[in-house]
């Protein structure tokens, strides 16, 4: 791995050809939320419940993989000057497809996620991966990179959603069934509300750094 300055967008040149490294970078070393602090809006907004976090994560994984694949395939054909418009058009198409799919087959979930499915279009992770990686790399590795970043995003969302749902309501529910319940739990409005999202995410990022996230970054640079 060549020494490189911390790259905000994460696309390390050295990782370009090696799936394992690209995967590790997306999930851990360059985790889009914990390290790059991208995609924060949805991470804060929909993590009131674990189920919401996982469905949102799945949507982002799908969109980022598909858009990275298509953009990588088209990378030599896209005129440089209008590349961002092309990126947005392709990303938006996949996001609307996901939205329509949810409306048709997962109506309740679609209602619960509300406008945030549509807002995947503006999730910086997706355009970030397109700009930093897919437009400069072959399709195979681009899809790996995209999947890793999507999973890295989903992982953080799931942890925050778990803490907030359990801490806020004392229960974990999935598909309408309660899986886990703490008896006599007093509702915690701070964790369930917007401030809780900031607090939990802040502590989680601190914890990940304490667990060695920073060491790996420093070792790399």
């Amino acid at each position: 791995m060549g020494a490189s300055a911390p790259n905000l967008a994460g696309g390390m040149p050295g990782a370009g050809g090696r799936p394992i490294l690209a995967f590790r970078a997306g999930v851990w070393n360059d985790n889009p939320i914990a390290v790059q602090i991208l995609g924060i809006c949805s991470a804060l907004a929909i993590t009131t419940r674990l189920e919401n976090a996982l469905v949102m994560g799945a949507g982002v994984v799908f969109v980022v993989m598909m858009s990275s694949l298509i953009l990588s395939l088209l990378r030599k054909a896209i005129p440089r000057r209008i590349r961002m418009i092309a990126e947005v058009a392709i990303i938006a198409t996949f996001v609307i497809l996901v939205d329509q799919f949810l409306r048709a087959y997962y109506w309740d979930m679609s209602k619960r996620l509300g406008p945030y499915v549509g807002l995947i279009i503006t999730n910086c992770i997706i355009m970030g991966r397109a700009e930093a990686f897919a437009l400069h790399n072959r399709p195979g590795i681009s899809v790996v990179d995209a999947a890793a970043n999507g999973l890295g995003y989903t992982f953080i969302l799931a942890v925050v959603g778990l803490v907030r749902e359990l801490g806020g309501t004392g229960t974990i529910a999935f598909g309408g069934r309660v899986l886990l319940e703490i008896p006599d739990y007093p509702r915690n409005l701070v964790l369930g509300g917007a401030p809780g999202a900031f607090i939990v995410l802040g502590f989680l990022v601190a914890l990940l750094y304490a667990l060695g996230l920073r060491k790996e970054r420093e070792a790399r640079t």
């Binding site: 896209i78 005129p79 418009i85 092309a86 392709i90 497809l97 329509q100 048709a104």
Partner: protein, 195 residues
């Protein structure tokens, strides 16, 4: 110049492909989405009327429960969904209403006791008000203030008393207008029937 023409062609082609994909997806899912929206409306009506139904069942069960228990009657342009018990007596009646909210449309259901004066329950099933402020209208803690209210005030005017939400004056006002309008509508529909 050549580059510009290429960019233009590329953009047009990309746009056409994306639009084609989206149109196809829309067409393919249209029936299901419409069925979902319909089932959603029916579920809200059943909830408001207090009709029991299988919550786990799909859209078809909802439609069945509706057709079995509910009769839709139109009186002078106002559509009532009446819950008819097995003895043939009306147990509750619901009227759908809507209006402009602060950010988007607000839709709700007003369910009445058989006397058609006393509110059984009001629910707002669609709203895009500010979360935490106007959005509170969708919560039970806001709507329970209407339970048992008469749609005619002691002074004889049609309307309901709305306890405004602090910090959501606009939403509260619009809800007030909406409820007064539907209360008037209900009274007028009955006047036509000679009640």
């Amino acid at each position: 110049m050549k580059g510009s023409l290429y960019s233009l062609l590329f953009a047009a082609l990309l746009g056409a492909v994306c639009a084609g994909l989206l149109t196809a997806a829309r067409e393919l899912t249209a029936a299901r989405r419409e069925a979902n929206a319909q089932a959603e409306r029916i579920r809200h009506i059943l909830d408001a009327l207090g009709v029991a139904y299988d919550a786990e069942g799909g859209a078809e069960q909802l439609v069945q429960a509706y057709e079995k228990n509910v009769r839709a009657v139109e009186r002078k342009g106002t559509k009532f969904h009446e819950y008819v018990g097995s003895d043939g007596a009306v147990r509750a009646a619901a009227v759908l209403f809507d209006g402009k909210g602060l950010w988007g449309p607000i839709r709700g259901i007003l369910a009445l006791e058989p006397d058609r004066r006393t509110v059984r329950r009001i629910t707002f099933y669609q709203q895009e008000e500010t979360p935490g402020l106007g959005g509170e209208i969708a919560t039970r803690s806001f709507t329970q203030q209407f339970d048992g209210q008469n749609i005619v005030s002691p002074a004889g005017e049609a309307g309901l008393a709305v306890q405004a939400i602090a910090g959501a004056t606009m939403t509260s006002q619009r809800v007030q207008e909406m409820l007064n309008r539907v209360a008037r509508q209900i009274l007028e529909s009955e006047a036509a029937n000679g009640r």
